[in-house]
């Protein structure tokens, strides 16, 4: 892998508080890489160490094969898109974009060429002489990107750049950002607490929690094979059942679900599961299927509590009869149609699932994540140790 940015055993402490636990990570040239995690987990801190606003307490940042220790912010080959954009309000669009070149002593004609080209890239030709205060939110966003690209950075750092926009514009800008990244081939390091953004745009995503990287993987892997309970609950939606390992055969794990009876699941990648160990079984709502009387295999007996019609699918809130735990089920319109008569509150219904789709992870306590804000309400104790091939020891 042609490495562009490398975090080498980096630790960041503020006084007694460790904001970033020991972390190692490599990001390739031309990669769209995201850090995803709830707010306060240390994403901005990582970005600040890369851009040079913070000096790591331990370890070192490398960019383009060069160690960055002692290289100040203004000499690093990085450019940042700030959360509030930080456009210079007293300057025109041209002056904003050309600022980085101006301070490097590039002559005026050359500067104007560059800014015209970048305005074309972000589809804002002809607005160069406007004041930035006259631009809309989306336009400001693009100018911020053009301004950062003007200095030809090796790495573009984006700190939740879309969080100030409204929903529609945000989704539009996702596609645009991705397109700009492809066109320029520059490494993007993107920070967000919005999993939708991370999953749709990124080549790889690092999921973070409480100063620690939980897992680094491409979006698909992250979704299908979470390695820690935190990732399983934070990325997408998951039902969590507490179980005990009976035994394991390759990937297949036989589980004792207590009152739920015997269950089956797939062991998460690289996780160690001893026989008899407490574990958690994660089943996504869309992987649950209603069972008829004749169907065999593990059976989850529930009572429907609420039904939400979402257009393309139905979301059921049910309660497990045996344990009283909640179980959320998402049924595609096909399945829903077939079972239509039975789907109303108070009805009893049984669900089954394919053990391939249900991941077993060691029980590390599950974080409660607020769906609306992505805020962690209750943080799990130390997560899984092995992450994406890089070694991230837990403290």
């Amino acid at each position: 892998m042609d490495s562009n940015v490398k975090l080498d055993e980096v630790v960041m402490r503020f006084g007694d508080f460790t904001a970033i636990e020991r972390t190692s990570l490599e990001i390739a040239s031309g990669e769209f890489f995201s850090f995803l995690g709830p707010s306060g987990c240390g994403k901005t801190t990582i970005l600040n160490m890369i851009s040079g606003f913070l000096r790591p307490s331990e370890g070192q940042v490398w960019i383009g094969g060069e160690p960055m220790a002692g290289v100040p912010v203004n000499r690093r080959p990085t450019a940042m898109i700030f959360q509030n954009l930080a456009l210079f309000p007293l300057m025109t669009v041209f002056e904003n974009i050309e600022f980085g070149l101006e301070v490097r002593g590039v002559d005026k004609r050359k500067r104007r060429e560059v800014s015209e080209r970048l305005l074309a890239l972000v589809a804002l030709e002809g607005s160069g002489s406007k004041l930035v205060t006259e631009l809309s939110g989306g336009q400001k966003q693009r100018i911020a990107i053009a301004r950062a690209l003007a200095v030809e950075p090796r790495v573009l750092l984006l700190d939740e750049p879309l969080s100030a926009l409204d929903l529609k514009l945000r989704q539009h800008m996702r596609a645009e950002l991705k397109a700009i990244q492809r066109k320029t081939g520059i490494t993007f390091i993107y920070i967000t607490h919005d999993q939708g953004e991370a999953l749709t745009m990124s080549d790889r995503v690092a999921v973070m929690s409480a100063g620690r990287i939980q897992q680094v993987a491409d979006p698909m892997t992250l979704y299908r094979s979470p390695r820690t309970g935190f990732v399983a609950s934070f990325v997408g939606e998951n039902n969590r059942l507490e179980v005990k390992v009976i035994d394991r055969e390759g990937e297949r794990v036989r589980l004792d679900g207590g009152a739920l009876g015997s269950l089956m699941g797939r062991a998460g990648d690289d996780v160690v599961l001893a026989n008899g160990q407490a574990a958690a079984l994660y089943i996504r709502p869309e992987h649950l299927r209603p069972l008829g009387d004749g169907d065999s295999g593990p059976r989850l007996e529930t009572t429907i509590e609420a039904v939400h019609f979402e257009g393309a699918w139905l979301m059921l809130e049910t309660r497990l009869e045996a344990s009283g735990e909640k179980l959320r089920v998402q049924l595609g319109s096909e399945l829903a149609k077939r079972a239509a008569q039975a789907l109303e509150p108070g009805r009893q219904i049984d669900f089954g699932f394919d053990p391939e789709e249900a991941v077993v992870l060691p029980d590390d306590g599950s974080p409660m994540v607020d769906e609306a804000t992505g805020e962690v309400l209750e943080v799990a104790p130390g997560g899984n140790a092995k992450v994406g091939g890089e070694h991230v020891p837990s403290a």
Binding site: V73, F88, T133, L135, L169
Partner: protein
């Protein structure tokens, strides 16, 4: 309800009387300029004349005092504006346990009577063989005018978004380039206002100046001495001119300030417009 209305009327009446109280004396003084009387008064009215303006123009002492005042004001600007800016930057940047103490020191000239600033300046410089004159007047006035400049610059600096600074550095600017291209332009309106206020404060200062001016004379000192000895309506003529100049300045300053506010509102409107086009 009726008593409420009476009260509201009373308040309005009071405001009217207040502004009469504020402006009537100035009008009386202005009117006395045109009275053809040996003394500055409007009673009795001895006929209308413009001759006091002529006498004023012929008064070489007045011209000397005026040029001294301008010289002092320029000197004060050169000292107080940089000091005021530096102090505001200091307070905005430094956090230290000594800061409350330093802050109290910085504010102290505002809470010290002007005569005492003049006296202490006079005494302090005596040991270096410097006695009262233009130089000490500049120093004495700048002592407290610097604090006014600081307050005005500070008010704007506190609203500065420091990510702007970080953005400039991140784009490759040196700290100096950031200071020159980002921070100073941002502070410019406040610095200009502060300079205007500082100029006026210097120009009209009397209490401090009186003690440090020595044998030189500034315009205010000149006026005061005229009032006590050799009073003629020529003093009114001078006063009238000064008042007109300050009123014009004050209104221009105020109009400029309001224009700027309007400009901000306007670019905000342009933004809203762009925003709505974006959604359409």
């Amino acid at each position: 309800m009726n008593s409420q209305r009476l009260l509201a009327f009373g308040l309005r009446f009071y405001i009217a009387v207040f502004f009469l109280y504020l402006f009537l004396p100035l009008l009386v003084m202005a009117a006395a300029t045109f009275n053809d009387s040996r003394f500055p008064t409007i009673t009795p009215w001895d006929g209308t004349t413009l001759r006091w303006f002529g006498e004023l123009a012929a008064d070489s002492g007045m011209w000397q005092a005026l040029s001294n005042s301008l010289l002092v004001a320029v000197g004060v600007l050169c000292l107080a504006v940089p000091i005021g800016i530096a102090t505001a930057l200091f307070l905005n940047t430094v956090s230290s346990r000594a800061k409350p103490f330093i802050y109290a020191l910085i504010l102290s000239p505002l809470l010290t009577p002007g005569v005492i600033i003049g006296i202490s300046t006079l005494i302090f410089w005596r040991q270096f063989g410097v006695s009262g004159g233009i130089f000490l007047t500049v120093l004495g006035q700048a002592t407290f005018i610097s604090a006014y400049v600081m307050l005005m610059v500070m008010a704007r600096l506190q609203r500065f978004d420091r990510t702007m600074e970080r953005a400039a550095l991140d784009l490759g600017a040196s700290q100096w380039q950031m200071f020159r291209r980002i921070l100073l332009p941002y502070l410019k309106p406040a610095i200009l206002s502060a300079a205007v206020i500082a100029f006026l404060q210097s120009f009209e200062n009397y209490n401090t100046t009186l003690f440090v001016v020595g044998y030189d004379t500034t315009l205010t000192v000149y006026i005061a001495s005229k009032v006590r000895t050799g009073l003629t309506p020529a003093v009114n003529a001078l006063g009238l001119i000064l008042i007109l100049v300050t009123v014009v300045l004050a209104i221009a300053y105020e109009v400029k300030r309001r224009r700027e506010q309007a400009a901000v509102a306007q670019s905000g409107q342009a933004m809203v417009l762009a925003e709505s086009q974006e959604k359409a």
